[in-house]
């Protein structure tokens, strides 16, 4: 690696420990912001837990293909050195000057040489490391086909004939003399994201996990569902190999302090995880499989997660049983599992048979992570998770050491991505950027103008070890291809992607004067970038390339039928040759970037993001609608952990107002917006005089927040005893003597939330109720507090406050939507009646205070208008809709726009701070560049054919085409997303999508159907 020298000689970099999703996000964000990173992982491939998942909620997509290019991208980044099979041994020093000892175990494979052909695996399957889980289909040490590094690793201890193993590698990559390396590196800051383990239920006899094969953990069930899993994606019972008819999920295994060895916290993601598995099962098998979820509280508190729960119930018919099963047994001679349970309004013991039982196991930190924490010297809480700043969850107890992901606390993927970016923001803040001198000038020859030349195609066909060569005769294929029109050179190239072959191809292009290249090999998804670079190095435009994927699409899928494999490979190659002849040189669009940032919203999120960026020297314009900064936090007193919100907000406001790089506009409303990512112009009116000004900026951060909901009903605003939780909190501060006189206090949860008019969960209200209940008891220990709830959603460590409230005598009683509590005014008091499900009877309480958990709703008028002005999408309930709910949770679909805080969905202060930090980090990745590369796949209009019919103007989802002064449609390539909608709609065929031009596609199609026509 060229960057090794720099990475090892200076301290000016960040060490990221853990190469799961969070760690990768951190490393990529830092690298894209021109900071140096060393990314270490204990495993031999990065990707962590997510690469084991089949699908992800709430979209039920398989996101592996979305994430895996990012993983390999990370290894390509100039700023990242990736050290796999490496652990941290010791740490010395302090923030800005850490010295870390790393130990790397031997892989016995030279990463530079290995092409991941898999020959070693085929010849010596026993020598490879076998991955945990249910991966018994094939012993493979590449966890999935897109693994990074794309290389194998050898378990030398299991290998009997080392010489033979070395000999089998065509690339000569196996090195049995590889040794462990211990090295010391310097760094300025450290990010820990080693992930978490899942709870192991083996010791819990009554669940039978270690006895009955059909009792599996949720991750194992995931592997069974996965196409890359042990059953190849077939849902089969481990015991019989047959498809199950009834599957049950049991929630909270290893969480909420329920079992021996379980954490006291809630594991946050398991409810959604189980829901997803149940829904995917239903999607695939409909009525053939019955799905039942045994749960305590369904905790679907994330953005639009409640809708997911409703879909599971209403659309998919997943059955929900509120119950903690007593035991799972498999009677002698029976092949089904018998679950014994009771339900809440009865004492009767019920039993039911299932074919498979899935245990929704929770998170816990691994022994290795705890050891890592010890080495780092960071404080851990009672649950063995790091102690963090109450307002900044990525800051550990040691300055300069940051934590992220499931290591910080149990969480799902989007929150992990947010923290990954947030940690990058914090860790990168004190490092100056490391500019790499562009090598292109030295390395890159001038691009040859091929427009006047006859096409001269070079075809290079890989055998990819036996992957292709083992199924078909590559030489014969080469001979056939050589006869095709315009083919000047056809050659077998062994491993085309190896260094040697790449250099050979480059020299051939130059020597033979080739102007088009076809690679017959593997997937363009993984290798296109590499070959495009090769073309550029050979002096021809990188878009004069076609890749025929004869491995994945031919020899892999038709291994057993060589004749058909050859036919298909031939077709693919003919198509590629015909298409590449029509290829034209294209240039990537790029634009200079304006490095100012507009932040919309002056609450905690907006102020935090503004400060993080301004501290890096960025000019920030902070626009606030109301007359003062602080947002909804101005009404809060304390967090559940005891953090002083007013102190925190006052400090933020003072820093923002005094910052020379921040201009604050209060009472300001955005009225117009134009431009493109990197060059926006936004108009606003501010102050009582509504002074209009325009701001030029490259990035927009949406932090416009949400508003406190105040639905009518339950005598709110009618009885003096009825307050919202926000008001209750203020009352405790301003009039504690009133609170001291309360005998009975009742709290209603989900007021205005989880109802047909507003189906989503407000996320924050359960913890708010617990927080206020505990605070009331502080002031007035004699108060009797009743909390009427639907599901207590005290996720993560909030669960422990929930337990504390129960211990202190707070009474929790569940109500259902079809039988809500009833309130009657009674003078200064209010009479509350509800049906108690445990007692099975109506209960009436005369309450001195009724506190309504009213939650938050989006400020619909305000977000609707911002969405209209900025042309951004929103959710049905009015929150801004991010680009990818899983993997890009703070990036908006329009480049240059980011979203943080409650404008995204309701959230707590610390969660908003994390998002604000994440947004600052994402913004920095853009600000580090001087220009934005927009790629070359854009629509181009032929003005001579265009009839100005406006169809493209209407078809474009991004409102890019317009009729220009010359009377034809014009598409700004800088704005075009390359979706091709206008291309498909244009009746005159006047629009072409570059890289996918009609003649190029047609040439392919003609080749494909030639034989049929003939």
């Amino acid at each position: 690696m060229q960057n090794s020298n720099r990475l090892h000689t200076t301290k000016n970099k960040v060490l990221v420990v853990g190469g799961g999703l969070g760690g990768i996000r951190t490393a990529l964000d830092l690298a894209e912001a021109e900071k140096d990173v060393i990314l270490v992982d204990r495993d031999y491939t990065i990707g962590g837990l997510m690469t084991l998942l089949d699908r992800t909620f709430p979209t039920n997509n398989c996101d592996l293909c979305t994430i895996s290019p990012h993983l390999s991208e990370s290894s390509r980044q100039e700023h990242i050195e990736l050290l796999t099979m490496t652990e941290v041994v010791a740490v010395k020093g302090s923030k800005g000057d850490f010295s870390v000892t790393l130990k790397t175990a031997p892989r016995y494979i030279n990463l530079e040489k290995c092409t991941a052909c898999g020959d070693c695996l085929k010849a010596f399957p026993e020598c490879v490391r076998f991955h945990a889980g249910l991966d018994h289909r094939a012993p493979t040490c590449m966890r999935y086909p897109q693994a990074t590094p794309q290389a194998f690793s050898i378990d030398l201890a299991r290998c009997t004939d080392v010489q033979a193993l070395v000999a089998v590698c065509p690339a000569g990559a196996i090195n049995p003399d590889d040794m462990a390396i211990t090295r010391e590196i310097g760094c300025s800051s450290i990010v820990l994201s080693p992930g978490a383990e899942l709870f192991d239920p083996s010791h819990l006899d009554y669940l039978g996990y270690s006895t009955f094969p059909d009792v599996v953990t949720s991750l194992e069930y995931e592997r069974i569902l996965s196409a890359s899993g042990p059953t190849g994606g077939k849902l089969l019972r481990p015991s019989t190999g047959e498809q199950p008819k009834k599957v049950a999920w049991i929630q909270c295994i290893g969480s909420r302090g329920l079992q021996k060895g379980a954490g006291a916290f809630c594991s946050n993601a398991c409810c959604m995880f189980a829901l997803k598995e149940a829904i995917v099962t239903k999607e695939r098998f409909q009525e053939d499989i019955e799905t039942t979820i045994f749960y305590m509280d369904m905790r679907t508190f994330g953005k639009d997660y409640e809708l997911y729960l409703n879909r599971a119930k209403d659309d998919y018919g997943v059955r929900f049983l509120r119950s903690r099963p007593h035991s799972i047994i498999q009677p002698e001679g029976s092949d089904t599992l018998n679950i014994t349970y009771t339900i809440e309004d009865s004492t009767k013991q019920l039993t039911e048979d299932f074919d498979m039982v899935v245990l929704a196991t929770g998170f816990k930190t691994s022994a290795e992570s705890r050891q890592l924490a010890g080495v780092m010297g960071i404080a851990m809480n009672e649950d063995f998770f790091p102690v963090t700043d109450v307002f900044n969850p990525v800051a550990s107890s040691v300055p300069g050491i940051y934590v992220a992901g499931t290591f910080e606390s149990p969480k799902d993927i989007p929150e992990t991505m947010v923290q990954g970016s947030a940690a990058a923001c914090m860790a990168g803040a004190d490092l100056p950027a490391v500019r790499i001198d562009p090598e292109e000038d030295v390395d890159q020859p001038r691009e040859r103008d091929v427009s006047q030349e006859e096409p001269k195609v070079g075809v290079f066909i890989c055998d990819c070890g036996d992957n292709i060569g083992g199924v078909i005769n590559v030489e014969e294929l080469v001979a056939e291809v050589a006869t095709l029109p315009y083919v000047a050179v056809a050659r077998a190239e062994g491993h085309g992607c190896s260094r040697v072959s790449m250099e050979e191809i480059r020299q051939t292009i130059i020597a033979e004067g080739l102007n088009r290249v076809v690679i017959g090999g593997c997937s363009p998804r993984t290798h296109q970038g590499k070959f495009q670079e090769l073309l550029a190095k050979a002096g021809i435009n990188k878009y004069l390339l076609e890749i025929a994927n004869i491995r994945d699409q031919s020899t892999w899928v038709h291994t057993g039928n060589p004749a058909e494999a050859v036919d298909k490979a031939r077709d693919l190659l003919r198509m590629a040759v015909a298409a590449v002849v029509k290829a034209q040189p294209l240039s990537d669009q790029s634009l200079p970037i304006n490095k100012n940032v507009l932040v919309v919203g002056g609450g905690i999120s907006g102020m935090t993001a503004a400060l993080r960026l301004a501290d890096q020297g960025v000019q920030v314009y902070l626009v606030e609608k109301s007359d003062k900064l602080g947002g909804i936090a101005n009404q809060l007193v304390k967090t559940i952990e005891g953090g002083d919100v007013q102190l925190f907000v006052a400090d933020l406001i003072a820093r923002v107002q005094n910052h020379p790089q921040i201009q604050v506009f209060t009472r300001a409303l955005i009225v117009d917006h134009s431009g493109m990512p990197g060059m926006f112009k936004t108009g606003m009116q501010s102050g009582p005089q509504m002074f209009y000004r325009q701001i030029e900026h490259g990035i927009t951060i949406l932090a416009s927040g949400a508003k406190a909901n105040r639905p009518a009903g339950y005598l709110l605003d009618q009885s003096p005893a009825v307050h919202t939780q926000l008001e209750t909190q203020q009352l405790m501060g301003s009039q504690p003597e009133v609170v001291r006189n309360w005998d009975n206090v009742v709290m209603f949860q989900c007021v205005g939330s989880r109802i047909p008019e507003n189906p989503n969960c407000s996320r924050i209200c359960c913890q708010t109720a617990i927080k206020n209940a505990l605070a009331i008891l502080e002031i007035n220990p004699e108060a009797r507090i009743f909390i009427l709830y639907r599901d207590m959603r005290t996720y993560g460590f909030h669960e422990e406050y929930y337990q504390k409230a129960r211990e202190k005598g707070v009474i929790f009683s569940r109500y259902t939507l079809d039988r809500p509590p009833v309130t009657t005014a009674a003078g200064e008091q209010v009479e509350v009646s509800y049906y108690d499900t445990i007692l099975s009877q109506e209960v009436t309480i005369v309450a001195d205070a009724l506190c309504l958990s009213t939650g938050m709703v989006s400020d619909d008028d305000s977000t609707e208008e911002l969405a209209m002005i900025f042309k951004l999408p929103r959710t049905a309930d009015g929150y801004f809709l991010e680009d990818h709910v899983k993997l890009r949770p703070v990036d908006m679909p329009v480049p240059g726009f980011f979203v943080a805080g409650a404008a995204h969905s309701p959230k707590l202060i610390k969660e908003s701070v994390s998002q604000a930090n994440a947004v600052a980090s994402r913004a920095r990745t853009m600000l580090a560049r001087d220009a934005i590369n927009l790629g070359a796949a854009t629509a181009r209009v032929d003005g001579k054919i265009c009839a100005a019919c406006l169809i493209c103007v209407r078809a474009c989802p991004f409102e890019v085409p317009f009729i220009n002064a010359d009377g034809y449609s014009e598409i700004d390539p800088a704005k075009c997303h390359g979706c091709g909608m206008c291309v498909a709609e244009c009746p005159a065929k006047a629009i072409q999508l570059m890289q996918f031009e009609d003649d190029r596609i047609l040439a392919k199609v003609e080749q494909l159907f030639e034989r049929i026509l003939a």
């Binding site: 609608k625 009472r667 409303l669 955005i670 009225v671 117009d672 108009g683 009116q685 102050g687 009582p688 005089q689 509504m690 002074f691 209009y692 000004r693 325009q694 008028d861 305000s862 609707e864 208008e865 209209m868 002005i869």
Partner: protein, 290 residues
Amino acid sequence: MSFQKRLAADEFAVLAEMHTPKGINISRLVNDARRLKGRVDAVVVPDMDNGIMRMSALAGGVLLQQQGVETIVHMYCRDRNRMALQGDALAAHVLGIQNIIIANSVEMADGDHSDAKVVDDLNEIELIEALMTLQQGKDMSGFDLDGAPDFSIGTSIGSFSDDKTMAATLATAKARVAAGAGYVITPPIFHPEVSEKFLNAAGELGVPVIATVFLLKSLAIAQYIANSDPGAQIGDELIRRIRKSSDREQEGIKIAGETVQALKSRTQGVLIQTLGWEHKLPAILDVAQL
């Protein structure tokens, strides 16, 4: 026809407001004004009376006159003493600007230099009297001028929230008219019918009444005015109309144009305020069929 002649002939006058830049980039100001040439009778150039520091109105007015657009500039009392005010008035005349509106100043605390010193040497009535004195060839200390200027003086009527404040603001306007103001400019009118009472009362001042028409750019702006300026009487119906519209920008232009049209029979003229969207003025005039 010049603005003065238009008023004198009892014809409907159309004015547009244009602000000087905060800075020295005058291209927008000049371009916007050029586009309006021949479509409005005069352009009103406010000064820093709204509390935002920027290029002075006098320079802006001269600039537009050079483009062949008749201008009216604001004068106000908060930032200048009687020496500076008289001097500026003489300068205005010499530079070809004779139309002056005596404007109310917003509180310094609401401006963007809230720590600036407030002068308030004169009040608006005294300022009008001072201009009248100058026209008679004398300064405020009674010394002779070497050449007397000539002005056409108007004044703005302050905003109000109820009948009581309306009466008070009209009483002030009356005093200014008595001092020499030859026409009055109203606060923004959104519904000529709803504001009938006010317009009638203003008509009784005995000078031409020019109604301000304010371009609502967005729902948020409309809501902001509805909340902060109850006298504007925006009304729920108008808010609903904007909310329902799929193209709010266009809707705002339509509303402004329709308001101008409805005012034609009720007032002596209109002043269209677009606050930064001066490029939309032609579209508003199109809707108003002017």
